[in-house]
Amino acid sequence: MRPRTNADRLITQTLAGEVWPPLADRHAYRVDADGQPFLLPGMGGVTLGVHLGDPATGYAADHLEPGLSVRHAQPGPNLALQYLSCVGNTVTVRSGPAAGATGVVIGQHAYVLVDMADEAMREVCTGDQVVVTARGQGLRLLDHPDVVVKNLDPELAGRMPLQTCPDGRLEVRVAARVPAAAVGAGAGMVSEFANTDLMGAYAGQGEDLSLGLERLRIGDLVLLEDQDHRYGRGFHEGYLSIGVISTGHCRLFGHGPGPSSILSGPASAFAIVDDESANLAHYLLEGEPAR
């Protein structure tokens, strides 16, 4: 049975942002887990060629942010943009040669991250203005009061294969199960901002760094074991969180491909089904007209 929601009571807001440039400093290099310096693109700006469904790791990149990286120039409005934007929201380019092109929010990472077709994205540049049609915070699953929902567009929630089981648990399909030891930077931060960097996914580096997460894909739904993301992010035995992988390859240690949190609650409230195809690409793109 599809879970009932309060989607009909939610508010939609139009938020503004701009494509933010990649940032560097005069020291240029950062250092990886093995002490090797690197200078690589990935964070900020417009990152082409990596989309929902593509491998998250295996790139010569650091803090890979697929697509557009969007923020607001003023601190207060920026926090509103980051907190209120939800995975699945529509983004429309408002200035520059790509004006009118649309994309979709795939997560947050101190920027709102926007996937769109490469053909349109090639025309987008840093400084271009976008609007996010923000809708989703406040979404609840009415028959699952112990499950906190966040950062999730209600229409996307409706396309995901969520089910209420006969025993009352919420069935969720995930492409990977992530042990708590993989959780890196992002722990201790609020879960409406940025994402949870996963370690153990340093493809191409040592076996002692691996937790078997090198095969994650952008858009994968993942289970985070013993993680409580209801009101922040922290280790909590007996709880779990569900996230959507929104960022990719990292060299900076303690960082890595990161899920944006969308569901969290006691493990006993969930029925988890392993499904390699559990990826946003299937819920957002296939057989569905763009909104």
């Binding site: 887990a33 093995d34 930077a185 992002g186 201790g188 931060m189 760094l209 280790f235 960082h255």
Partner: protein
Amino acid sequence: MSVPTAVAVNLIGTVEHPEFGGSPFAVAMDGSPYLPVGDAGIVLGVQLGDLVFGLEGDHVAPGATLTHPDQAARHALTSFACLGNEVRVRTGGAAGATGRVLGKRGEAGRVIVVFEPDVLATLAPGDAIQVRGFGQGSSCPPELAAAGAVVLNCDPAMLDRLQVRLGERASFPVRAVVPSKLVGNGLGRPAQQWDLDLAVTVGNAERWSMAQLRFGDLIAITDLDVRHNAGYRHGWTTVGVTVHGASRLPGHGPGVMPVFCGPSELVDVRPDAADHRGVTSDRLWS
């Protein structure tokens, strides 16, 4: 290969004042609001050796916390201040009094210093404190260094006083040994500027052999490498000092400032959940 000589630097910090945003409340893991008391500034009545879980405060440090108005200088102050370094009050009613560095905290960077209670009671926010930064760049014995082990955030003179033995192997007395999955805030951050918060609460402290955790205790964390940012690495052990207390925020808790990291096969930890003795006032001042 000759061992380079570590150098000392004089730094300045100012005693910070607690800060709040627009709301007095923080949100605990269970969603309940609470008012965080004792997070930063001058905290009276809490001393090294006190029980961490005997307080109602949030991120309480047993002393005064220092900052610097210039962010780059603040990062440097945090980077170079090490456990055991001498500090001297330069202004205010306690001018001339000395104390010691206990540790450091993350985010924008803060240094925790301890004083005798009568000195601490005379300090005020804004007082200037000189810190004799010494310890970063000091080395392990060659056998450990060859295996990649490092000492960090620690005046070398403190190691003997803590009954740490460094030779062909490393040996540490600790309150408890915990897995890296308990670490929250501090992961992915530079351990020379940041502590590691453990998801240990009054509710689960017994499970992790930390019910008797005291300010200043040494803690070992398995499968954690903090040499180039803190992160998971199988087979590496990090040892640190408990520099601040518990918190109800998810991903936060007692803060451990790393002082050593090396391959687990070369590290002997000597856990004593009941009678461990870590950094104490007499060991800091001896």
